[in-house]
Protein backbone atom coordinates (compact mmCIF):
# COMPACT_ATOMS: atom_id res chain seq x y z
CA UNK A 1 0.00 0.00 0.00
CA UNK A 2 1.32 3.39 -0.95
CA UNK A 3 0.15 6.32 1.07
CA UNK A 4 -2.41 8.39 -0.80
CA UNK A 5 -0.94 11.37 -2.58
CA UNK A 6 -1.92 14.62 -0.96
CA UNK A 7 -3.95 16.78 -3.28
CA UNK A 8 -5.13 20.27 -2.54
CA UNK A 9 -8.80 19.84 -3.31
CA UNK A 10 -9.86 23.26 -2.07
CA UNK A 11 -11.87 25.15 -4.67
CA UNK A 12 -9.93 27.22 -7.14
CA UNK A 13 -12.22 27.45 -10.12
CA UNK A 14 -11.58 29.24 -13.38
CA UNK A 15 -11.50 28.75 -17.14
CA UNK A 16 -8.32 28.44 -19.10
CA UNK A 17 -7.77 31.27 -21.59
CA UNK A 18 -9.82 31.13 -24.78
CA UNK A 19 -6.69 30.52 -26.83
CA UNK A 20 -5.59 27.65 -24.57
CA UNK A 21 -9.02 26.02 -24.68
CA UNK A 22 -9.26 26.32 -28.45
CA UNK A 23 -5.77 24.93 -28.91
CA UNK A 24 -6.46 21.99 -26.58
CA UNK A 25 -9.77 21.20 -28.23
CA UNK A 26 -8.38 21.37 -31.79
CA UNK A 27 -5.37 19.24 -30.86
CA UNK A 28 -7.62 16.64 -29.18
CA UNK A 29 -9.95 16.43 -32.20
CA UNK A 30 -7.00 16.13 -34.53
CA UNK A 31 -5.30 13.41 -32.47
CA UNK A 32 -8.46 11.33 -32.27
CA UNK A 33 -9.13 11.71 -35.97
CA UNK A 34 -5.68 10.66 -37.09
CA UNK A 35 -5.74 7.73 -34.66
CA UNK A 36 -8.93 6.41 -36.20
CA UNK A 37 -8.19 4.01 -39.04
CA UNK A 38 -11.52 4.46 -40.83
CA UNK A 39 -11.08 8.23 -40.88
CA UNK A 40 -7.59 7.98 -42.37
CA UNK A 41 -8.90 5.51 -44.96
CA UNK A 42 -11.69 7.90 -45.88
CA UNK A 43 -9.70 11.11 -45.95
CA UNK A 44 -6.32 9.97 -47.33
CA UNK A 45 -6.21 6.44 -48.70
CA UNK A 46 -9.37 6.47 -50.85
CA UNK A 47 -8.59 9.83 -52.54
CA UNK A 48 -4.99 8.70 -53.17
CA UNK A 49 -6.07 5.38 -54.70
CA UNK A 50 -8.67 7.14 -56.85
CA UNK A 51 -6.09 9.69 -57.99
CA UNK A 52 -3.70 6.95 -59.10
CA UNK A 53 -6.46 4.90 -60.74
CA UNK A 54 -8.13 8.03 -62.13
CA UNK A 55 -5.07 8.94 -64.15
CA UNK A 56 -5.99 5.94 -66.32
CA UNK A 57 -9.73 6.65 -66.22
CA UNK A 58 -9.89 7.80 -69.84
CA UNK A 59 -9.62 4.15 -70.86
CA UNK A 60 -12.97 3.52 -69.11
CA UNK A 61 -14.84 6.84 -69.04
CA UNK A 62 -14.58 9.63 -71.56
CA UNK A 63 -13.65 12.63 -69.43
CA UNK A 64 -13.73 14.95 -72.42
CA UNK A 65 -11.06 17.08 -74.01
CA UNK A 66 -7.81 17.73 -72.14
CA UNK A 67 -5.22 15.65 -70.30
CA UNK A 68 -6.76 13.11 -67.97
CA UNK A 69 -4.57 13.98 -64.98
CA UNK A 70 -5.51 17.67 -65.30
CA UNK A 71 -9.19 16.73 -65.12
CA UNK A 72 -8.85 14.11 -62.39
CA UNK A 73 -6.64 15.93 -59.87
CA UNK A 74 -8.95 18.90 -59.13
CA UNK A 75 -11.85 16.46 -58.77
CA UNK A 76 -9.86 14.44 -56.23
CA UNK A 77 -9.18 17.64 -54.28
CA UNK A 78 -12.94 18.26 -54.22
CA UNK A 79 -13.50 14.68 -53.05
CA UNK A 80 -10.96 15.19 -50.25
CA UNK A 81 -12.89 18.24 -49.04
CA UNK A 82 -16.15 16.25 -49.11
CA UNK A 83 -14.64 13.34 -47.16
CA UNK A 84 -13.29 15.52 -44.35
CA UNK A 85 -15.83 18.29 -44.02
CA UNK A 86 -18.92 16.15 -44.56
CA UNK A 87 -18.56 12.40 -44.02
CA UNK A 88 -15.82 12.38 -41.41
CA UNK A 89 -17.24 15.33 -39.47
CA UNK A 90 -20.79 13.97 -39.49
CA UNK A 91 -19.79 10.51 -38.27
CA UNK A 92 -17.46 11.83 -35.57
CA UNK A 93 -20.05 14.32 -34.32
CA UNK A 94 -22.84 11.73 -34.38
CA UNK A 95 -20.87 9.44 -32.10
CA UNK A 96 -19.79 12.32 -29.89
CA UNK A 97 -23.45 13.04 -29.24
CA UNK A 98 -24.20 9.37 -28.71
CA UNK A 99 -21.40 8.85 -26.19
CA UNK A 100 -22.17 11.99 -24.22
CA UNK A 101 -18.95 13.77 -25.20
CA UNK A 102 -20.73 16.88 -26.36
CA UNK A 103 -22.68 16.82 -23.10
CA UNK A 104 -19.51 16.31 -21.05
CA UNK A 105 -17.76 19.17 -22.85
CA UNK A 106 -20.95 21.21 -22.51
CA UNK A 107 -20.52 20.97 -18.73
CA UNK A 108 -16.89 22.11 -18.96
CA UNK A 109 -15.67 25.70 -19.33
CA UNK A 110 -15.30 25.13 -23.10
CA UNK A 111 -17.91 27.38 -24.74
CA UNK A 112 -19.96 26.12 -27.65
CA UNK A 113 -18.05 28.29 -30.07
CA UNK A 114 -14.92 26.61 -28.74
CA UNK A 115 -16.31 23.19 -29.54
CA UNK A 116 -17.34 24.35 -33.01
CA UNK A 117 -14.07 26.14 -33.78
CA UNK A 118 -12.13 23.15 -32.48
CA UNK A 119 -13.92 21.05 -35.08
CA UNK A 120 -13.40 23.63 -37.80
CA UNK A 121 -9.73 23.90 -36.85
CA UNK A 122 -9.23 20.13 -37.04
CA UNK A 123 -11.10 19.93 -40.37
CA UNK A 124 -9.03 22.76 -41.86
CA UNK A 125 -5.73 21.22 -40.71
CA UNK A 126 -6.67 17.83 -42.16
CA UNK A 127 -7.73 19.51 -45.42
CA UNK A 128 -4.46 21.41 -45.71
CA UNK A 129 -2.56 18.13 -45.33
CA UNK A 130 -4.88 16.35 -47.80
CA UNK A 131 -4.62 19.11 -50.41
CA UNK A 132 -0.83 19.30 -50.05
CA UNK A 133 -0.32 15.53 -50.32
CA UNK A 134 -2.85 14.98 -53.11
CA UNK A 135 -1.63 17.96 -55.18
CA UNK A 136 1.94 16.78 -54.64
CA UNK A 137 1.13 13.30 -55.90
CA UNK A 138 -0.86 14.86 -58.78
CA UNK A 139 2.12 17.01 -59.74
CA UNK A 140 4.40 13.97 -59.60
CA UNK A 141 2.00 12.21 -61.95
CA UNK A 142 2.19 15.09 -64.42
CA UNK A 143 -0.63 17.41 -63.33
CA UNK A 144 -0.10 20.87 -64.84
CA UNK A 145 -2.24 23.40 -62.97
CA UNK A 146 -2.67 26.78 -64.68
CA UNK A 147 -3.55 30.14 -63.24
CA UNK A 148 -0.67 30.60 -60.79
CA UNK A 149 -1.34 32.39 -57.51
CA UNK A 150 -4.75 33.58 -58.70
CA UNK A 151 -5.83 29.96 -59.07
CA UNK A 152 -4.47 29.19 -55.62
CA UNK A 153 -6.56 32.03 -54.17
CA UNK A 154 -9.63 30.83 -56.07
CA UNK A 155 -9.07 27.30 -54.76
CA UNK A 156 -8.90 28.60 -51.19
CA UNK A 157 -12.17 30.48 -51.68
CA UNK A 158 -13.95 27.46 -53.16
CA UNK A 159 -12.58 25.10 -50.50
CA UNK A 160 -13.69 27.47 -47.71
CA UNK A 161 -17.19 27.76 -49.18
CA UNK A 162 -17.37 24.04 -49.88
CA UNK A 163 -16.19 23.20 -46.36
CA UNK A 164 -18.78 25.54 -44.86
CA UNK A 165 -21.54 24.00 -46.99
CA UNK A 166 -20.57 20.35 -46.50
CA UNK A 167 -19.59 20.86 -42.86
CA UNK A 168 -22.97 22.41 -42.04
CA UNK A 169 -24.80 19.63 -43.89
CA UNK A 170 -22.75 17.05 -41.99
CA UNK A 171 -23.58 18.67 -38.65
CA UNK A 172 -27.22 18.93 -39.69
CA UNK A 173 -27.36 15.15 -40.16
CA UNK A 174 -25.35 14.44 -37.00
CA UNK A 175 -27.56 16.78 -35.01
CA UNK A 176 -30.82 15.26 -36.21
CA UNK A 177 -30.29 11.52 -36.67
CA UNK A 178 -29.07 8.78 -34.37
CA UNK A 179 -25.37 7.93 -34.58
CA UNK A 180 -25.90 4.72 -36.62
CA UNK A 181 -28.22 6.47 -39.05
CA UNK A 182 -25.71 9.32 -39.37
CA UNK A 183 -22.99 6.79 -40.17
CA UNK A 184 -25.12 5.18 -42.86
CA UNK A 185 -26.37 8.41 -44.43
CA UNK A 186 -22.96 10.12 -44.39
CA UNK A 187 -21.33 7.14 -46.13
CA UNK A 188 -24.17 6.72 -48.61
CA UNK A 189 -24.10 10.38 -49.60
CA UNK A 190 -20.32 10.16 -49.97
CA UNK A 191 -20.56 7.19 -52.34
CA UNK A 192 -23.45 8.70 -54.33
CA UNK A 193 -21.68 12.03 -54.79
CA UNK A 194 -18.40 10.26 -55.56
CA UNK A 195 -20.02 8.23 -58.32
CA UNK A 196 -22.54 10.66 -59.73
CA UNK A 197 -22.28 14.00 -57.96
CA UNK A 198 -20.22 15.87 -60.50
CA UNK A 199 -17.16 15.69 -58.25
CA UNK A 200 -14.83 13.65 -60.45
CA UNK A 201 -16.43 13.68 -63.88
CA UNK A 202 -16.77 17.08 -65.62
CA UNK A 203 -20.36 18.32 -65.76
CA UNK A 204 -20.10 18.61 -69.53
CA UNK A 205 -19.93 14.81 -69.74
CA UNK A 206 -23.34 14.35 -68.07
CA UNK A 207 -26.63 14.35 -70.00
CA UNK A 208 -28.07 17.82 -70.11
CA UNK A 209 -30.94 17.17 -67.66
CA UNK A 210 -28.52 15.73 -65.08
CA UNK A 211 -26.11 18.59 -65.62
CA UNK A 212 -28.71 21.19 -64.65
CA UNK A 213 -29.31 19.39 -61.37
CA UNK A 214 -25.66 18.64 -60.63
CA UNK A 215 -24.46 22.20 -61.15
CA UNK A 216 -26.85 23.22 -58.37
CA UNK A 217 -25.40 20.68 -55.93
CA UNK A 218 -22.46 21.69 -53.72
CA UNK A 219 -20.53 18.65 -55.00
CA UNK A 220 -21.01 19.60 -58.65
CA UNK A 221 -20.22 23.25 -57.96
CA UNK A 222 -17.05 22.43 -55.98
CA UNK A 223 -15.79 19.82 -58.47
CA UNK A 224 -16.47 21.95 -61.53
CA UNK A 225 -15.23 25.10 -59.79
CA UNK A 226 -11.87 23.49 -58.99
CA UNK A 227 -11.52 22.06 -62.51
CA UNK A 228 -12.24 25.49 -64.02
CA UNK A 229 -9.83 27.08 -61.55
CA UNK A 230 -6.85 25.01 -62.65
CA UNK A 231 -7.48 25.38 -66.38
CA UNK A 232 -6.65 29.01 -65.67
CA UNK A 233 -10.17 30.23 -66.49
CA UNK A 234 -11.22 30.52 -62.88
CA UNK A 235 -14.58 29.35 -61.43
CA UNK A 236 -17.71 30.85 -62.97
CA UNK A 237 -19.69 33.33 -60.91
CA UNK A 238 -22.59 30.86 -61.05
CA UNK A 239 -20.53 28.09 -59.43
CA UNK A 240 -19.30 30.39 -56.69
CA UNK A 241 -22.77 31.72 -55.94
CA UNK A 242 -24.20 28.17 -55.75
CA UNK A 243 -21.58 27.23 -53.15
CA UNK A 244 -22.14 30.47 -51.26
CA UNK A 245 -25.90 29.89 -51.08
CA UNK A 246 -25.40 26.31 -49.83
CA UNK A 247 -22.88 27.53 -47.25
CA UNK A 248 -25.14 30.29 -45.91
CA UNK A 249 -28.39 28.30 -45.91
CA UNK A 250 -26.91 25.13 -44.39
CA UNK A 251 -25.04 26.98 -41.66
CA UNK A 252 -28.16 28.96 -40.76
CA UNK A 253 -30.16 25.74 -40.57
CA UNK A 254 -27.60 23.95 -38.45
CA UNK A 255 -27.33 26.86 -36.04
CA UNK A 256 -31.11 26.68 -35.50
CA UNK A 257 -31.53 22.94 -35.20
CA UNK A 258 -28.34 21.46 -33.78
CA UNK A 259 -28.92 19.79 -30.43
CA UNK A 260 -25.82 19.66 -28.30
CA UNK A 261 -26.93 16.72 -26.21
Amino acid sequence: MTSPTTLDLSPRPGSASRAAMLKAQTAMELRLQTRNGEQVLLTMIIPLVLLVLGARASQIVDLGPGRTIDIVTPGILALAVLSTSFTSLAIATGFERRYGIIKRLGASPLPRWGLLFGKIGAVVIVEVVQLAVLSGVGLLMGWEPHGGLTALGQMVLLVVLGTAAFGSLGLLIAGTLRAEATLAVANLVYVLLLVGGGLLVPLSRYPEAARHVLELLPSGALGQGLRDTFTGDGPTAFTTVVLLIWAVCASLMVSRTFKWE
Binding site: S15, R31, G100, R104
Partner: protein, 318 residues
Protein backbone atom coordinates in the same frame (compact mmCIF):
# COMPACT_ATOMS: atom_id res chain seq x y z
CA UNK B 1 -10.53 36.81 -13.56
CA UNK B 2 -8.03 37.31 -10.73
CA UNK B 3 -10.05 40.24 -9.43
CA UNK B 4 -13.45 38.59 -9.65
CA UNK B 5 -12.57 35.36 -7.86
CA UNK B 6 -12.51 36.63 -4.25
CA UNK B 7 -15.83 38.40 -4.82
CA UNK B 8 -17.37 35.20 -6.12
CA UNK B 9 -16.02 33.30 -3.12
CA UNK B 10 -17.56 35.69 -0.58
CA UNK B 11 -20.90 35.88 -2.30
CA UNK B 12 -21.02 32.09 -2.43
CA UNK B 13 -21.29 32.00 1.34
CA UNK B 14 -24.33 34.26 1.46
CA UNK B 15 -26.52 32.29 -0.93
CA UNK B 16 -27.50 28.63 -1.00
CA UNK B 17 -25.26 26.56 -3.27
CA UNK B 18 -28.36 25.20 -4.95
CA UNK B 19 -31.95 26.35 -4.63
CA UNK B 20 -34.64 24.42 -6.47
CA UNK B 21 -38.20 25.72 -6.03
CA UNK B 22 -41.27 23.87 -7.32
CA UNK B 23 -39.36 22.41 -10.26
CA UNK B 24 -41.49 20.80 -12.96
CA UNK B 25 -39.93 18.88 -15.86
CA UNK B 26 -41.80 16.96 -18.53
CA UNK B 27 -40.83 14.63 -21.34
CA UNK B 28 -43.74 14.69 -23.75
CA UNK B 29 -46.75 13.69 -21.71
CA UNK B 30 -44.65 12.20 -18.89
CA UNK B 31 -43.97 14.40 -15.89
CA UNK B 32 -40.51 13.42 -14.63
CA UNK B 33 -40.24 16.09 -11.94
CA UNK B 34 -43.42 17.29 -10.32
CA UNK B 35 -43.00 20.28 -8.02
CA UNK B 36 -39.66 19.38 -6.48
CA UNK B 37 -38.03 21.79 -4.03
CA UNK B 38 -34.73 21.54 -2.20
CA UNK B 39 -31.96 23.75 -0.89
CA UNK B 40 -28.29 22.89 -0.58
CA UNK B 41 -26.16 24.81 1.91
CA UNK B 42 -22.58 25.62 0.92
CA UNK B 43 -19.91 23.25 2.19
CA UNK B 44 -22.25 20.32 2.72
CA UNK B 45 -22.80 16.97 1.08
CA UNK B 46 -26.39 16.46 -0.03
CA UNK B 47 -27.75 13.16 -1.24
CA UNK B 48 -30.77 12.89 -3.50
CA UNK B 49 -32.02 9.43 -2.83
CA UNK B 50 -34.65 7.56 -4.73
CA UNK B 51 -35.49 4.63 -6.97
CA UNK B 52 -34.88 4.60 -10.72
CA UNK B 53 -37.22 6.94 -12.53
CA UNK B 54 -37.79 9.14 -9.48
CA UNK B 55 -36.53 12.24 -11.30
CA UNK B 56 -33.05 12.44 -9.74
CA UNK B 57 -31.06 12.74 -12.96
CA UNK B 58 -33.53 15.16 -14.52
CA UNK B 59 -33.29 17.37 -11.44
CA UNK B 60 -29.50 17.31 -11.31
CA UNK B 61 -29.17 17.92 -15.06
CA UNK B 62 -31.48 20.90 -14.79
CA UNK B 63 -29.15 22.25 -12.10
CA UNK B 64 -26.25 21.64 -14.50
CA UNK B 65 -27.96 23.83 -17.09
CA UNK B 66 -28.68 21.11 -19.64
CA UNK B 67 -32.36 21.98 -19.79
CA UNK B 68 -34.63 24.83 -18.82
CA UNK B 69 -37.30 24.23 -16.16
CA UNK B 70 -40.83 23.76 -17.48
CA UNK B 71 -42.06 25.15 -14.21
CA UNK B 72 -40.57 26.55 -11.01
CA UNK B 73 -37.04 27.88 -10.72
CA UNK B 74 -33.46 26.71 -10.21
CA UNK B 75 -30.58 28.83 -8.90
CA UNK B 76 -27.04 27.50 -8.63
CA UNK B 77 -24.49 29.59 -6.70
CA UNK B 78 -27.08 32.35 -6.96
CA UNK B 79 -27.12 32.18 -10.78
CA UNK B 80 -29.42 30.86 -13.48
CA UNK B 81 -27.85 27.62 -14.77
CA UNK B 82 -29.01 28.20 -18.35
CA UNK B 83 -28.65 31.97 -18.82
CA UNK B 84 -25.49 32.23 -16.69
CA UNK B 85 -24.06 28.86 -17.76
CA UNK B 86 -20.83 30.39 -19.00
CA UNK B 87 -20.20 31.84 -15.53
CA UNK B 88 -21.13 28.64 -13.74
CA UNK B 89 -19.33 26.00 -15.81
CA UNK B 90 -15.83 26.89 -14.59
CA UNK B 91 -17.08 26.76 -10.97
CA UNK B 92 -19.12 23.56 -11.13
CA UNK B 93 -17.78 20.02 -11.55
CA UNK B 94 -20.06 17.51 -13.23
CA UNK B 95 -20.03 13.72 -13.24
CA UNK B 96 -22.52 12.37 -15.76
CA UNK B 97 -24.30 9.11 -15.09
CA UNK B 98 -22.60 7.51 -18.09
CA UNK B 99 -20.41 8.24 -21.07
CA UNK B 100 -18.65 11.52 -21.56
CA UNK B 101 -15.43 10.40 -23.26
CA UNK B 102 -14.30 9.62 -26.80
CA UNK B 103 -14.11 5.87 -27.26
CA UNK B 104 -10.58 6.15 -28.65
CA UNK B 105 -9.27 8.57 -26.01
CA UNK B 106 -6.96 7.21 -23.33
CA UNK B 107 -7.92 7.83 -19.67
CA UNK B 108 -4.90 9.98 -19.04
CA UNK B 109 -5.41 11.94 -22.25
CA UNK B 110 -9.10 12.52 -21.54
CA UNK B 111 -8.41 13.74 -18.00
CA UNK B 112 -5.57 15.94 -19.22
CA UNK B 113 -7.88 17.44 -21.83
CA UNK B 114 -10.55 18.40 -19.30
CA UNK B 115 -7.81 19.76 -17.01
CA UNK B 116 -6.50 21.94 -19.86
CA UNK B 117 -9.86 23.72 -20.08
CA UNK B 118 -9.45 25.02 -16.51
CA UNK B 119 -7.28 27.78 -15.10
CA UNK B 120 -5.91 26.03 -12.01
CA UNK B 121 -6.51 22.29 -12.47
CA UNK B 122 -5.32 19.62 -10.06
CA UNK B 123 -2.09 17.91 -10.95
CA UNK B 124 -3.26 15.21 -13.34
CA UNK B 125 -0.56 12.69 -12.37
CA UNK B 126 -1.29 13.13 -8.68
CA UNK B 127 -5.03 12.73 -9.25
CA UNK B 128 -4.46 9.59 -11.34
CA UNK B 129 -2.36 8.16 -8.53
CA UNK B 130 -4.80 9.22 -5.82
CA UNK B 131 -7.68 7.48 -7.59
CA UNK B 132 -5.59 4.41 -8.42
CA UNK B 133 -6.05 4.91 -12.15
CA UNK B 134 -2.39 4.42 -13.05
CA UNK B 135 -2.82 0.86 -14.32
CA UNK B 136 -5.22 1.97 -17.04
CA UNK B 137 -3.92 5.48 -17.77
CA UNK B 138 -3.05 4.59 -21.37
CA UNK B 139 -6.06 2.35 -22.01
CA UNK B 140 -8.60 3.69 -24.51
CA UNK B 141 -11.96 4.54 -22.94
CA UNK B 142 -13.83 1.81 -24.84
CA UNK B 143 -11.63 -0.87 -23.23
CA UNK B 144 -12.18 0.33 -19.65
CA UNK B 145 -14.46 -1.62 -17.32
CA UNK B 146 -17.60 0.08 -16.08
CA UNK B 147 -15.96 0.83 -12.74
CA UNK B 148 -12.87 2.29 -14.40
CA UNK B 149 -15.07 4.51 -16.55
CA UNK B 150 -16.81 5.70 -13.38
CA UNK B 151 -13.47 6.60 -11.78
CA UNK B 152 -12.40 8.54 -14.85
CA UNK B 153 -15.73 10.33 -14.86
CA UNK B 154 -15.28 11.28 -11.20
CA UNK B 155 -11.74 12.46 -11.90
CA UNK B 156 -13.02 14.67 -14.75
CA UNK B 157 -15.57 16.20 -12.37
CA UNK B 158 -13.01 17.21 -9.73
CA UNK B 159 -9.94 18.03 -11.84
CA UNK B 160 -10.95 21.67 -12.41
CA UNK B 161 -11.07 22.39 -8.64
CA UNK B 162 -14.76 23.30 -8.59
CA UNK B 163 -16.59 24.84 -5.64
CA UNK B 164 -19.70 22.81 -6.34
CA UNK B 165 -19.89 19.21 -7.54
CA UNK B 166 -22.81 17.36 -9.08
CA UNK B 167 -22.24 13.60 -9.03
CA UNK B 168 -24.87 11.46 -10.70
CA UNK B 169 -24.64 7.99 -9.15
CA UNK B 170 -20.92 8.23 -8.43
CA UNK B 171 -20.54 4.67 -7.18
CA UNK B 172 -22.82 2.74 -9.54
CA UNK B 173 -20.94 -0.29 -10.80
CA UNK B 174 -17.98 0.07 -8.43
CA UNK B 175 -16.49 -2.77 -6.42
CA UNK B 176 -16.51 -2.28 -2.63
CA UNK B 177 -12.91 -1.03 -2.45
CA UNK B 178 -13.38 1.52 -5.22
CA UNK B 179 -16.66 2.56 -3.64
CA UNK B 180 -14.95 3.12 -0.32
CA UNK B 181 -12.25 5.23 -1.93
CA UNK B 182 -14.86 7.34 -3.73
CA UNK B 183 -16.50 7.95 -0.35
CA UNK B 184 -13.17 9.00 1.09
CA UNK B 185 -12.59 11.42 -1.75
CA UNK B 186 -16.04 12.97 -1.29
CA UNK B 187 -15.40 13.35 2.45
CA UNK B 188 -12.04 14.95 1.71
CA UNK B 189 -13.61 17.33 -0.80
CA UNK B 190 -16.13 18.30 1.85
CA UNK B 191 -13.43 19.10 4.38
CA UNK B 192 -11.67 21.16 1.70
CA UNK B 193 -14.79 23.31 1.37
CA UNK B 194 -16.38 21.79 -1.74
CA UNK B 195 -20.17 21.49 -1.82
CA UNK B 196 -21.38 18.18 -3.23
CA UNK B 197 -24.77 17.12 -4.51
CA UNK B 198 -24.99 13.45 -5.39
CA UNK B 199 -27.72 11.11 -6.48
CA UNK B 200 -27.77 7.56 -5.28
CA UNK B 201 -30.03 4.65 -4.69
CA UNK B 202 -27.75 3.24 -2.06
CA UNK B 203 -29.03 3.93 1.43
CA UNK B 204 -25.72 3.24 3.10
CA UNK B 205 -24.08 5.75 0.79
CA UNK B 206 -26.54 8.47 1.73
CA UNK B 207 -26.14 7.61 5.41
CA UNK B 208 -22.36 7.48 5.34
CA UNK B 209 -21.66 10.57 3.25
CA UNK B 210 -24.30 13.18 3.52
CA UNK B 211 -25.21 16.00 5.82
CA UNK B 212 -28.61 16.23 4.26
CA UNK B 213 -30.75 13.65 2.48
CA UNK B 214 -33.72 14.34 0.23
CA UNK B 215 -35.80 11.29 -0.49
CA UNK B 216 -37.34 11.65 -3.93
CA UNK B 217 -40.14 9.58 -5.37
CA UNK B 218 -42.28 10.20 -8.46
CA UNK B 219 -40.67 13.58 -9.07
CA UNK B 220 -41.17 15.04 -5.59
CA UNK B 221 -39.22 15.31 -2.38
CA UNK B 222 -41.15 13.19 0.09
CA UNK B 223 -38.83 13.61 3.06
CA UNK B 224 -35.77 15.70 3.92
CA UNK B 225 -33.40 15.82 6.84
CA UNK B 226 -30.16 14.51 8.21
CA UNK B 227 -29.74 10.76 7.74
CA UNK B 228 -30.20 10.31 11.52
CA UNK B 229 -33.31 12.45 11.80
CA UNK B 230 -34.88 10.80 8.79
CA UNK B 231 -34.23 7.33 10.09
CA UNK B 232 -35.41 8.05 13.64
CA UNK B 233 -38.49 10.03 12.64
CA UNK B 234 -40.21 6.87 11.52
CA UNK B 235 -42.58 4.86 13.65
CA UNK B 236 -40.64 1.66 13.98
CA UNK B 237 -37.95 2.59 16.48
CA UNK B 238 -37.84 0.20 19.36
CA UNK B 239 -35.77 -0.58 22.38
CA UNK B 240 -35.70 -4.05 23.87
CA UNK B 241 -34.41 -4.94 27.30
CA UNK B 242 -34.54 -7.84 29.65
CA UNK B 243 -34.79 -7.56 33.43
CA UNK B 244 -36.59 -9.41 36.20
CA UNK B 245 -40.20 -10.27 35.26
CA UNK B 246 -43.16 -8.30 36.51
CA UNK B 247 -41.88 -4.72 36.37
CA UNK B 248 -44.54 -2.05 36.71
CA UNK B 249 -44.78 -1.02 33.06
CA UNK B 250 -47.53 1.52 33.79
CA UNK B 251 -45.24 3.35 36.18
CA UNK B 252 -42.35 3.14 33.70
CA UNK B 253 -44.53 4.68 30.99
CA UNK B 254 -45.29 7.61 33.29
CA UNK B 255 -41.58 8.21 33.65
CA UNK B 256 -41.03 8.21 29.89
CA UNK B 257 -42.25 10.72 27.24
CA UNK B 258 -46.01 10.44 26.85
CA UNK B 259 -46.03 8.88 23.36
CA UNK B 260 -43.85 5.99 24.47
CA UNK B 261 -45.35 2.56 24.90
CA UNK B 262 -43.90 -0.23 27.04
CA UNK B 263 -44.90 -3.91 26.91
CA UNK B 264 -43.70 -7.00 28.70
CA UNK B 265 -43.98 -9.37 25.75
CA UNK B 266 -42.77 -12.48 27.57
CA UNK B 267 -41.89 -12.61 31.25
CA UNK B 268 -38.74 -10.53 31.70
CA UNK B 269 -38.60 -9.30 28.09
CA UNK B 270 -39.69 -5.70 27.55
CA UNK B 271 -40.23 -3.64 24.39
CA UNK B 272 -40.22 0.16 24.44
CA UNK B 273 -41.73 1.71 21.29
CA UNK B 274 -41.44 5.38 20.50
CA UNK B 275 -38.87 8.02 19.63
CA UNK B 276 -35.78 6.22 20.81
CA UNK B 277 -33.14 8.84 21.54
CA UNK B 278 -30.48 9.43 24.21
CA UNK B 279 -33.01 11.19 26.48
CA UNK B 280 -35.25 8.16 26.47
CA UNK B 281 -32.33 5.92 27.39
CA UNK B 282 -31.38 8.23 30.25
CA UNK B 283 -34.96 8.29 31.58
CA UNK B 284 -35.16 4.51 31.39
CA UNK B 285 -31.85 4.13 33.22
CA UNK B 286 -32.98 6.60 35.93
CA UNK B 287 -36.25 4.75 36.45
CA UNK B 288 -34.44 1.39 36.65
CA UNK B 289 -31.96 2.80 39.17
CA UNK B 290 -34.79 4.15 41.32
CA UNK B 291 -36.49 0.72 41.25
CA UNK B 292 -33.26 -1.14 41.93
CA UNK B 293 -33.63 -2.98 38.63
CA UNK B 294 -30.66 -4.17 36.69
CA UNK B 295 -31.28 -4.47 32.96
CA UNK B 296 -29.57 -7.61 31.75
CA UNK B 297 -29.56 -6.79 28.07
CA UNK B 298 -30.47 -3.67 26.21
CA UNK B 299 -30.90 -3.42 22.45
CA UNK B 300 -31.77 -0.35 20.41
CA UNK B 301 -33.43 -1.29 17.15
CA UNK B 302 -33.01 1.87 15.20
CA UNK B 303 -34.80 2.04 11.92
CA UNK B 304 -32.43 2.43 8.99
CA UNK B 305 -32.89 4.90 6.17
CA UNK B 306 -33.73 1.87 4.06
CA UNK B 307 -36.67 0.98 6.33
CA UNK B 308 -37.74 4.57 6.27
CA UNK B 309 -37.67 4.65 2.50
CA UNK B 310 -39.78 1.54 2.30
CA UNK B 311 -42.21 3.02 4.76
CA UNK B 312 -42.48 6.31 2.84
CA UNK B 313 -42.73 4.99 -0.70
CA UNK B 314 -44.05 1.51 -0.19
CA UNK B 315 -41.33 0.15 -2.40
CA UNK B 316 -37.79 -1.09 -2.22
CA UNK B 317 -35.05 1.14 -3.56
CA UNK B 318 -33.70 -1.00 -6.36
Amino acid sequence: MGVSEPVAATSARDVPAVEVVDLVMRYGSTTAVDGLSLTVEPGTVTAILGPNGAGKTTTIETCEGFRSPHGGSVRVLGLDPVADGHLLRPRVGVMLQSGGAWSGARSYEMLRHIASLHAHPLDVDALIERLGMGSYGTTPYRRLSGGQQQRLSLAMAVVGRPELLFLDEPTAGLDPAARRSTWELIAELRSSGVTTVLTTHFMDEAEALSDQVHIVDAGRVIASGTPQSLASSGSKNTLRFTARPGLDVEDLMLALPHDTKVDEITPGAYVVAGAVDPQLLALLATWCAAQGVLTESLLVERQTLEDRFLELTGKALR
